[in-house]
Symmetry: C2
Subunit: 469 residues, 2 copies
Amino acid sequence: MNSDEFRKAGYRIIDWIADYRAGIEARPVMAKTAPGDVKAMLPASPPQQPESFDAILADLDRVVMPGITTWQHPRFFGYFPANALLSSVLGDYVSTGLGVNGLAWQASPALTEVEEVVTDWMRQMLGLSNAWSGVINDTASTSTLVALLCARERASQYSLVRGGLQGEEKPLVVYASGHSHSSVEKAALLAGFGRTNVRVVPQEASHAMRAESLASMVHEDIRDGRVPCAVVATSGTTTSTALDPIEAIARVATANNMWLHLDAAMAGSAMILPECRWMWQGVELADSLIVNPHKWLGAVFDCTLYFVRDPEHLVRVMSTNPSYLKTQADGRVKNYRDWGLPLGRRFRALKLWFLIREQGVESLQARLRRDLDNAKWLAAEIGKTPNWAVVAPVPLQTLCIRHEPAGLTGEALDKHTLDLAGRINQSGQAYVTPAMLDGRWVVRVSIGAELTERRHVQQLWQLMQDLVR
Amino acid sequence: MNSDEFRKAGYRIIDWIADYRAGIEARPVMAKTAPGDVKAMLPASPPQQPESFDAILADLDRVVMPGITTWQHPRFFGYFPANALLSSVLGDYVSTGLGVNGLAWQASPALTEVEEVVTDWMRQMLGLSNAWSGVINDTASTSTLVALLCARERASQYSLVRGGLQGEEKPLVVYASGHSHSSVEKAALLAGFGRTNVRVVPQEASHAMRAESLASMVHEDIRDGRVPCAVVATSGTTTSTALDPIEAIARVATANNMWLHLDAAMAGSAMILPECRWMWQGVELADSLIVNPHKWLGAVFDCTLYFVRDPEHLVRVMSTNPSYLKTQADGRVKNYRDWGLPLGRRFRALKLWFLIREQGVESLQARLRRDLDNAKWLAAEIGKTPNWAVVAPVPLQTLCIRHEPAGLTGEALDKHTLDLAGRINQSGQAYVTPAMLDGRWVVRVSIGAELTERRHVQQLWQLMQDLVR
């Protein structure tokens, strides 16, 4: 495909995406595909000869689209808002079309320097002090792994240059609440700590971590000859956006030389609202933190911000310096390859740069405030309706909801809840993802798609009420 | 930005990329930016109010483009061919515009199932048996880390559910040659093995690993009470595309219950040519292997294929199963989140699907054969020119070249070599990345950009000769 052919085919792709986005509300939210449906429509072997672009586009409609769950649908209330705003999409199109790789500063200086600037813009938008340095990673999972590796190496005084975790006499221990994201335990296990050295800290009724419990578990581990290494606090847990008490946790961490990593993947976007910043009071005491602009804020996936207070430590843990990556600019520039796991690096800063400039900070703030209002409205409606309950605090835009008809408890109630969630999704009218809270299933509703207005939340509420009648 | 505005702005982005690609040969290959130049042109703080799309596009030209090194330039001979073919770019545009996230099969069934099909197409194209299962990761670095984590858990019989590496009595050991990629040592250190448990296996004159040395190092470690855990072999090392003897290495691995991971990130693309498959003879004996379609093959970055023979083991090491990720389809479908590090997942299969269909296997093969011929031609030209040498075998498309004027040795020769590479790059006419081989610098020339024809290789050769005159 030469550039003329690209121009023609590219217009068609733009039209195709524009049509998809314009017609998004008319689509079913959840794909109605059965397992194997898509595979069955595709040839088992690759084509030996070129196919026409027409054939490929036709298969997009015929094969792919029936298997697409509509994440930007105004009645998508599953997982998290995945606001791939169209300005951000265009920023990513520039990155992909340029096809550069930022494995060294010299390999495209603009890639590195725009990333430096845009991560610093984000730092300011989030109200963080200038003690933080940022880098863009793919996901929160990867970033949390990086954080725990950095914690491991700080606590062990760089065991990696010696015998690794295999050479340590006292086991290092990691702490998180039972409501921390699944990626936290995964990262701790992959980093080699072992499950017997990962502590689940008890929670308050609000599902936030109990700092006093953390303190006593830490003391117990020290008494038993183990070394408290890291604690992962969450601002906005996945299930209910519970807010761990950062400041109290930080006191425990500081007193015991532990690494404090703050997972604000989802809720971090809300920190562009000054009135929300009380939620992560104490953030300046953390060693690392993550915020996912690819969620509520509006950047297209993937775009996770990883902020650290000690970039030199990060580089010491992550850097490699083989001859074939050396350039004449080294020492005077940032080489972001030494700030994370992968060597290769897309020009991800463009999608954030386009987004922030096309929107402006105030528009981003206004949209998030709209979503907080919608969540408050829905919580109030449910609160005044018999047999319905919001079963966790709603500091942000996620609601844990249950329909609790008189006499229904235990597993029967769970069945009722999962059945409701399943019927919402099967209807194609809305999409929710159920979750467990306090040992029982809830219908979890995450509000904040770009197109979600009050009426869409009203429609969901009406649908839920209709389905249990 | 609504869909109508997107349509207009999108056409402009398509035109902008089409113009960039059409005019690529007229651009300097290496950006001439000085450190800080790009940053200095950007505001230190984010805009509060929306900016026009015109303003953003204007800054692309004014701020970004001078800082772009032209990776698709026909005289780009650095690092590796980064062939972001335009059909692949369009496949990625569809992915980005759809904005779906494959964190569960149900979250967009087509994302998972197209990936299953396309990775299997690639398996067939590479001549691999159907004992392999594939998944798309971002990079080789990440995939090698996954491989070593899987090796660690197999050798330790899932230490992660116990005390991790901290609970093992005998240290696990990892082996690789001194010419394995820097990501191998990085992965071993991050996985917690520790540098004292990473062995650098000596090499042949060809820069391939000596299998006999591996065998004796393994026996020594066993004798000393350590556990050989994994060996990483490379088909096509970064500096000179040296070929480790897979079959002989596999014999050592099999005899000692070691994991064999094969790094064919760059050279793997050549295995779509049946005449090249002798290069990884023994590949079927490996446990895992990586090939980067985002290099020579033509997919736009990022797109690494990770193939494994035991996907159940991979899932056992990587899986998490929190309530909020459960769906009614679980158990009947693949959830690729359990095949690697990140939870979130782009629809990366589209860029490979578009590429393979638009090109057809035979066109891809023809292009790679052209590049192999060009490399042979250049090696022959240099071989017959006094004072010039190709200092390593050239099985593929990478040449290690030196100009060796009579009397110049040691550090003076190194200075001469680095000076030549620097002057090539500063000229803007071509781009090369120097590397160390046998303790001395070489000018490393990696041939295979999509637009690179014989005349571009001739121009590089002429330029090099002119610069030393």
